[in-house]
Symmetry: C2
Subunit: 217 residues, 2 copies
DNA sequence: CCTGCTATGTAACATTTGTCACAAACCCGC
DNA sequence: GCGGGTTTGTGACAAATGTTACATAGCAGG
């Protein structure tokens, strides 16, 4: 939760996770950013909130999901070190409200870039403008894949898609997940997930344990 | 299909549909754009295609949808005069492939902006850079609504959402649609749509006719 | 090692959506 | 006003997903 303004630390974080930025951009950012820490499970954004700054993730992982009016969740994608929240970049520039929710899945650190700086960064630093566009483009594509998975695929294919994503994010075939968590992320029910996971185990696609799913495909 | 390079005509189209652009930007674009006409039902983009230019719609309407490997479609959103294809703007700058399909729903006209120009436009013209960001942001939000509708809603609510969209796009409560078209757009089957529309008619939400659905809500 | 909490398994059933088969209604051109 | 195509209506059934209710299993702390 603490807010620090140690320039040298910010500078170092920027250099290690945003090496593509030109040196003057890094100094500029280091001058104006603050670091913010989040605990696991802490909410970074909630719908309806106004952005005062753009977030650059430098440590940990952040889950981006959509919520409906009844509090149901739907997981969309996840950010890690080196990523930025696309919506916060553009909403920020236009003082719009957030349409999504974000939650830290582990203790995480983000750099907060004041929105007042955005215009100057966009027009003055080519690497920043590329970064913003690339961020938007790749989130957009991730979202398109999500649309695919719910528009065209059946539940068991969606679980497969979900597990593949989780594996990529955790860099491991051993996923520490409960069936309930998966169900919540997919806006389904636990029994359905258990049932289908069991079938996948019989087909040799996964190995199931308490709190763990080992991906075998 | 014809390609013309009549500067004055381009200039005029730009002025009437993209009035927010600064005059020098309009001249710049008029100098380098070409007009392209599309017939109704003609495909503007297909997945896997490389972009050579960004499209600004100046007349007609374009439907943006996703296709799966079996040729199933899923309608996402629609562009009209004054809109631009978000993906073509950014894919264009990075020479990436299109991930979507686009089809003219009526005879349409677009201005083609060569991708070689993008960098100069982005850095040199503030109104262009705002336009690109705003385009991306609003498509992103439309896509989020689409995700909502399939992640959280049942078929009848989705039909309602679909009809509301169509009404907004056609500026009329009388929609010229067959049940089959709706089914295709929603990746469902005609019988399901007919069944649910009938129920909606009984509840007084729509009036059904051959090739027409009158929205009453 | 017992207790209690959490996670998982599973059967039975409800609901929603999709599929098949075919009938009826509508519309256009002759 | 008569075919022939297209569009819509509908019943019966299949398949997928969601719900309810409860049993069992694993783990952690006392």
């Amino acid at each position: 939760m603490g807010i620090t303004t140690q320039h040298s630390q910010v500078q170092q974080l920027l250099e290690s996770h945003f090496g593509q930025f030109e040196p003057e951009l890094i100094s500029k950012l280091a001058e104006h950013c603050v670091i913010r820490d989040f605990e696991a499970d802490q909410q970074l954004m909630r719908p309806g909130q106004y952005f005062k700054s753009t977030m650059l993730i430098v440590e940990g992982g952040v889950k981006i999901y959509r919520e409906d009016q009844d509090g149901n969740e739907f997981f969309m994608y996840q950010l890690g070190a080196g990523d930025a929240c696309a919506l916060s970049m553009i909403c920020a520039t236009r003082k719009e409200q957030s349409q999504i929710s974000a939650k830290a899945i582990e203790p995480s650190k983000a750099l907060l870039v004041p929105i007042a700086l955005m215009d100057e960064l966009m027009t003055g630093y080519k690497t920043w403008y590329y970064f913003v566009l690339e961020t938007y483009r790749s989130r957009f594509e991730e979202l398109l894949e999500v649309v695919d998975s719910i528009a065209f695929k059946s539940m068991d294919e969606r679980i497969e898609f979900y597990l593949k994503n989780q594996r990529k994010l955790s860099h491991s075939d051993e996923l520490a997940l409960t069936h309930q968590q998966i169900a919540t992320d997919m806006n389904s029910s636990r029994e359905v997930i258990s049932r289908l996971l069991k079938k996948m185990e019989q087909r040799g696609m996964v190995r199931l344990g308490r709190n763990t799913i080992t991906v075998l495909f």
